[in-house]
Amino acid sequence: MTKSNRKLYTKEKRTAFAFITLPLIGFSVFTLFSLVAVLVFSFADYNTYRETFDFSKPFQNFVNLFTNDTYSNAFFRSIGNTVLLLIGIPIGMVAGLFVAALLQSKAVKKGSKVFQVLYYLPAVTSAVAVNLVFRYIFNPSYGLINRLFDADIPWFSNEWLIKIAIILKNTWSSMGGTMILYIAGMLAIPQSYYESADVDGASPLRKFFSITFPLLTPTTFYIIITSVIGGLQSYADAQIFGAGAAGSQTIVWFIWNYGINQGKQGLASAASLVLAVFIMIVTVIQFRYSNKWVYED
């Protein structure tokens, strides 16, 4: 390397570093610093009314979270609810895949674009509007469903029914996004695969299960990761749709309720930490094991 080259390289290094400083600062301040603060808070009893920090019992928040019935019941329930509500993901995926397969089938030519545009609409509609409309539709006293069937189905107060309602709602809103991803995945599959299958005389169903679906595994994998991470952070379902009903409380709602609503920030920080660790583990596991079953060329 010549002297001027080296000088240029140093300059390039410096410039390259300068270009990434803002994201580095942003990450350090807003995420790293906040995570450290969460860690500190979670070992303190922070009384928001008295504005006092008390570190005399550093593990009390975790003890409360996991063993003290006063908090652990609600905490475990919110974890359970969050995990149960993830059932909506495979349902939405199957629906999305089904619709994608229909729209890509040779029998459906005309209007396939129009259907595609229609089905994707819920994905651009805000969670607030979706939750409000569905809350009205499911309202036990004057909602569409109970009035239509003249029934008294306790959609909100029963802890199972509210989950069914939320899953139905989430399937409705997630189908379009999944569909588009699957269609994109299908378009990327080389036509030659199907042509050789045609030569063998394979049925459309057989072609779907032996060619399309296996080749879509990267898409499936991507959808699972993003929806599980999104699902673990669900909040509007509990806040707007469920209005805090026991059957709809999620982990993020728990954090909001204790941290911001009830002023128990230490406890909420401990819960945040548990959530963060949980999401990191899920992500790492998903990436680690992805190679084993994801078809990639």
Binding site: T48, Y49, R50, E51, T70, P140, Y142, R147, A245
Partner: protein, 486 residues
């Protein structure tokens, strides 16, 4: 070159940040144009907001050296905003449910030195006594060593109301004797629980379907009021530390649940009461729960004819007495206010100023805090906003019941003496007032929901679920008290 650009970008964003931060910090100033600025935080419905605007203007006319700077928040976010505000407003709403946390934290200014005994004496004891707190003993209510930390805004006795139009229609539809039914709806004679359940069944006997489209007698039950009227409470009445899941408590919850599951007079789909007003105003229930502040909204609908009755009581429990739940709120003054004198003066005026009390009374917002105005509240004379040329009656006709409830066990106005009876109607502050935080009660309501207690028909099943919760409730209360009282 590139560093310059980057630096310029960072600098400009920094400048934006600091400029914005500066605009936020201009509320340290308390005097403008020789007038003292007093900040005031409150919440309320649109009707209440316009009332407060009028009140504030009236106050500023009366005191032209003061400028009140009001801030209105939604009730759902109010406490969050209050918590996050570093400089608390000079005067603010403080609900009874959150009072003790903030009084205990030293946020609220002791007001004793600003009021005279006679001023205090003119107010309802139930109201003013609520806002005494003993910082050392950590006890609520008036006692030696306790200081006054808030002026009551109003007292909200919550009791049952009925929609007269729907009631008359149901009496006719079920061929009931109108005089008999109305005899039961008596402001001086509460029904027993059995009588009330029977009446509800009789009135809805023609509604043979079950479903969203039928008429129900009552949309939900106010749990505190039903427990109190069943001679029960969440905790021991004296030291409020021992849990109260006793026989009376179990009977009360069983009665509420069975109104829906056994008697079929209440929907079993919604126990939050969220839809109650909509159902009541649309004529889909006969009864609902209301407080004095609801009058303003009900008067806006001239077709709505209604009246109130006392909460039914459990005649199977010897000491049970018809007892309404009283919700309340106070005006607090920040202990760190720079304009304490002016702030207290304003808060005091809101609480006991006669202009203010008259105005809110005739607008249908509240029963006056001053006892001497009670006779005006009962009378149809006066500047009631609901009076028209054709209609001179003020609803609800039995509104002396609100006064009677606030009067507690005493008979200050001689309602009972005049009828030759002894007072059997009372009121008690809602349970959350007595405790530090609401976790214990949230847990209880979540327990009822997740254990499907609301769907149970059998009294034994309900009893078993409640008995199983006894230690949990005690545990929650113990934790709360040890956190509060150390």
């Amino acid at each position: 070159m590139k560093f310059k650009k980057l630096a310029a970008m960072m600098l400009s964003s920094l400048m934006l940040v600091s400029a914005c931060a500066l605009t936020a910090c201009d509320n340290g100033e308390n005097v403008t144009d020789g007038k003292t600025k007093v900040s005031f935080w409150y919440w309320g419905s649109s009707a209440e907001v316009s009332v407060y605007n009028q009140l504030i203007n009236t106050y500023m006319d009366l005191n032209d050296d003061v400028v009140i700077v009001p801030t209105h928040y939604e009730s759902t976010t109010y406490m969050t905003k209050f918590q996050s505000e570093k400089t608390k407003p000079d005067v603010f709403f403080m609900p009874d449910t959150d009072f003790v946390q903030w009084a205990d934290a030293g946020t609220m200014l002791p007001l004793d030195s600003y009021v005279t005994a006679s001023e205090i004496g003119g107010l309802w004891e139930t109201g003013i006594n609520e806002y005494y707190y003993n910082m050392d003993a950590k006890t609520l209510g008036k006692s030696s060593g306790a200081k006054l930390y808030g002026f009551p805004k109003d007292l909200g006795p919550v009791t049952l109301a009925y929609n007269k139009t729907v009631l008359d229609r149901q009496i006719a539809a079920n061929k009931l004797n109108s005089a008999d039914v109305y005899a039961k709806l008596n402001k001086l004679q509460p029904m027993t629980w059995d009588e009330f359940a029977q009446l509800c069944k009789d009135l809805t006997a023609d509604q043979n379907t079950s479903g969203a489209n039928r008429l129900y007698a009552i949309p939900y039950c106010e749990m505190d009021a039903m427990l109190y009227s069943g001679g029960a409470d969440y905790f021991d009445k004296n030291d409020r530390t021992k849990q109260g899941i006793d026989e009376a408590f179990i009977q009360a919850i069983t009665y509420i649940v069975q109104l829906a599951t056994v008697h079929g007079v209440m929907p079993d789909s919604d126990h939050s009461g969220d839809n109650a007003y909509t159902l009541f105003e649309n004529g889909k229930t006969i009864f609902t729960w209301i407080g004095p502040w609801d009058n303003a909204d009900f008067w806006a609908n001239p077709d709505l004819k209604y009246d109130i009755i006392p909460v039914p009581y459990n005649s199977n429990i010897a000491h049970a007495k018809s007892t309404s739940m009283i919700g309340s709120m106070c005006y607090g003054v920040s202990a760190r206010s720079n304009v304490k004198e002016e702030a207290v003066k304003f808060a005091k005026w809101l609480c006991m100023g006669s202009e203010c009390q008259n105005m809110t009374m005739y607008l249908g917002q509240q029963v006056p805090n001053i006892k001497s105005l009670a006779s005006a509240y009962i009378s149809d004379e006066g500047d009631w906003v609901c009076k028209t040329a054709t209609n001179t009656k003020v609803l609800p006709e039995s509104r002396s019941l609100f006064v009677d409830i606030m009067d507690g066990d005493s008979d200050t106005f001689g309602f009972w003496a005049a009828a030759g009876k002894t007072d059997v109607i009372s009121g008690r502050t809602r349970a959350l007032y007595y405790t530090y935080g609401s976790t214990w009660k949230d847990n209880f309501t979540d327990y009822l929901a997740t254990q499907h207690v609301w769907d149970m028909k059998s009294a034994d099943d309900i009893r078993a679920k409640l008995e199983a919760y006894r230690t949990n409730l005690q545990h929650d209360l113990d934790g709360m008290y040890s956190y509060w009282r150390g």
